[in-house]
């Protein structure tokens, strides 16, 4: 059995990539199982999804604690302690990272000693689609290549899975073409199927319940959400071109998270520790004084404190 774990940020397409991989494997006659982690995942927040592929029936369920391949859709996740992308991997594990760095450069930055390969899918998507968007097809194709699935099955699986999103036919075709370019371009590393994972017996612990007056979760702090930084959610950051700003306040008015304040000169000041990168301000600025810049590792990328 091959066990593949996907990590991404909500909206990037990690979940769909895991489906594409599962469907492609199924089309080749394998047993396949794919599932996202269920939680309060939100656009921009770390998410994970799991695909298992085998010739024989798959009895294992749940999270993949010891993956054979890890697919990381956003390099910033490596630094995000909440994402736990490097959990349960060793030198045996193959790792793919969507990154502008080479495997060697990235390897030097991370502690991962195993097989590492990278490709800048975000840049390819920007070049080929002309705008940011989900990279599920690209991730699915790369994963498919690494586990040894055929081009045709990836092609068909992308069509099946993206159709569910109400995407226009030409958009799906474009995704297929670009995904297969990535399929061809990614430097392969061998993915070694692991032995079935031994599942440690769990001890059932019976919790003791406090009465609701004591047992109900209570927060006795005011406005402490600012301690929780969401800057790492961004793949693009809004940047002000001061000369172009006419001080109209629209970015301030429309920012859902209230991370833009206006200074004395009526110029926006952006709180990058919390800006989630939705780009509403970039879309709505009437003078194009706010522009989207890609977050790049090694450059200005946000780091969890």
């Amino acid at each position: 059995m091959q066990a593949v774990r996907f990590h991404g940020r909500g909206g990037q397409g990690a979940k769909t990539a895991s489906r594409i991989l599962g469907t492609a494997a199924f089309l080749e006659g394998y047993q396949a199982q794919d599932s996202p982690i269920y939680g309060a995942e939100r656009r921009g927040a770390p998410v994970a999804a799991f695909t298992r592929i085998a010739k024989e029936p798959i009895r294992e369920r749940g999270l993949i604690a010891r993956p054979d391949l890890v697919v990381i859709a956003d390099a910033s996740l490596i630094d995000d302690p909440a994402a736990r992308v490097l959990d349960g991997i060793d030198e045996r594990t193959a790792v793919f990272v969507n990154s502008s760095l080479t495997a060697e450069q990235l390897g030097a930055q991370t502690s991962h000693a195993g097989r590492l390969t990278t490709l800048d899918l975000t840049d390819i998507a920007l070049q080929q689609f002309g705008k940011r968007g989900a990279i599920s097809a690209l991730l699915g194709a790369v994963a498919g290549r690494l586990v040894g699935l055929r081009r045709e099955s990836i092609h068909e699986a992308i069509a099946r899975e993206l159709a569910d999103f109400g995407l226009a036919a030409p958009v799906i075709e474009r995704n297929q073409t670009v995904a297969l370019q990535c399929y061809d371009a990614v430097r392969t590393v061998s993915v070694v199927a692991g032995a079935p994972q031994p599942i440690a017996p769990a001890q059932l612990q019976v919790p003791t319940y406090e009465p609701p007056t004591r047992g109900t979760a209570r927060i006795s702090a005011a406005a402490n959400s600012v301690l929780r930084e969401t800057g790492g959610w961004r793949t693009f950051r809004p940047v002000l071109v001061p000369d172009k700003c006419n001080g109209c306040w629209l970015c301030f008015a429309y920012c859902p998270d209230g991370v833009i304040s206006m200074n004395k000169d009526d110029r926006p000041v952006i709180d990058y520790d919390h800006c989630k990168g939705c780009q509403i301000c970039v879309h709505e600025c009437p003078t194009e004084a706010l522009v989207a810049e890609r977050e790049k590792e090694g450059a200005v990328a946000w780091k969890a404190k």
């Binding site: 939100r42 656009r43 226009a168 702090a221 969401t230 429309y254 209230g258 989630k276 509403i280």
Partner: protein, 310 residues
């Protein structure tokens, strides 16, 4: 009679102070959060929020809260009942002299459309009938969003949700019409009801300022464009909201003691412009154009505005 804003005339009158602080786990580009943030600028900090389960649960995810005031979490069906309890407790404290009257708090229900149109409808009806002095803020993202965008009674005809997909039997996806909660509320004759859209911030702020003058149930229905459930790029949230209003699909209005005034009369662009922006309506255009469905949506809007003028 044209409606006039009295308090909020210029965009620079939007209060600078934030009352919903950043760091919440709501989606990047959430239209519901955008609306709440603007509303809170008028409501202030002296508030007890009573939040029905839904995406807004994510506002105060333990151990963090974005509010300076209080926030209480209830089941989907019972936020108005929770609000009654909070209001009663405040009244008792004031009556006993344990809380100075000037330090009284506003009680504000936060509910999604799943709660508002569906699960909490009886609890809301009860609260309005009892003339409970509270605000009800419904952020309407037209689906059960928190659990992955399932059909709700607020989902409009033609939208695709995970439980009303485009299928051979139902090519339009959703076949029901959006429930008219505004009229259901209005039939209860509360002192104040309004619809708002965060793309029209002055209209929104003005309505919250006007509502403050009334004692009793004050109900708000906020268009909450949802990139995750409606399938569009998060940066387009204001554009989607603008087209919802400009096509006439989301009328901006208020009702004072039952009397309705439209606060903005759109020129009414074709509904297509709104539908085309969103993946949840894509099946109406691809692979084959469903003219009947699009015409149906347009006809419903035309019908609505006909009766407004008449």
């Amino acid at each position: 009679m044209t409606w006039q804003r009295e308090t909020f005339k210029k965009i620079k009158q939007i209060p600078r102070e934030e009352h919903v602080l950043p760091g919440t786990a709501l989606c990047a580009g959430c239209g519901g959060l955008e609306a709440l943030r603007l509303a809170a600028k008028v409501l202030g900090d002296d508030v007890v929020y009573v939040n029905a389960a839904g995406c807004f649960t994510m506002l105060a995810a333990y151990p963090f809260t974005p509010f300076k005031g209080s926030w209480l979490y209830t089941t989907m069906g019972s936020a108005p009942a929770g609000a009654q309890g909070v209001r009663d407790a405040l009244d008792v404290l004031i009556a006993k002299g344990r809380l100075p009257k000037e330090e009284d708090l506003k009680v504000v229900v936060l509910g999604g459309d799943g709660s508002t149109y569906d699960m909490a409808l009886s609890s809301t009806s009860g609260a309005i009938t009892r003339k409970l002095d509270f605000y009800y803020f419904c952020y309407d993202n037209e689906a059960y969003g928190n659990t992955g965008a399932q059909l709700s009674p607020a989902t409009p005809y033609g939208a695709r949700t995970t439980t009303s997909p485009c299928s051979l039997q139902h090519p339009s996806g959703t076949t029901q019409e959006k429930k008219d909660i505004f009229e259901i509320w209005r039939a209860h004759k509360p002192p104040y009801i309004a619809t708002v859209a965060p793309r029209y911030p002055l209209d929104l702020e003005e309505k919250f300022a006007r509502a403050a003058k009334f004692t009793g149930p004050k109900l708000f229905l906020a268009l909450s464009a949802c990139p995750t459930g409606w399938l569009y790029d998060p940066g387009e949230t204001p554009e989607v909201a603008k087209l919802a209003v400009e096509t006439g699909l989301w009328p901006l209005k208020e009702a004072i003691n039952g009397e309705v005034t439209h606060t903005y009369i759109p020129k009414r662009k074709p509904v297509e412009e709104y539908l085309k922006l969103q993946g949840r309506f894509r099946h109406l255009f691809e692979p084959t154009r469903q003219d009947d469905a699009i015409r149906h949506i347009q006809a419903r809007v035309d019908e609505y505005w006909q009766q407004v003028k008449g």
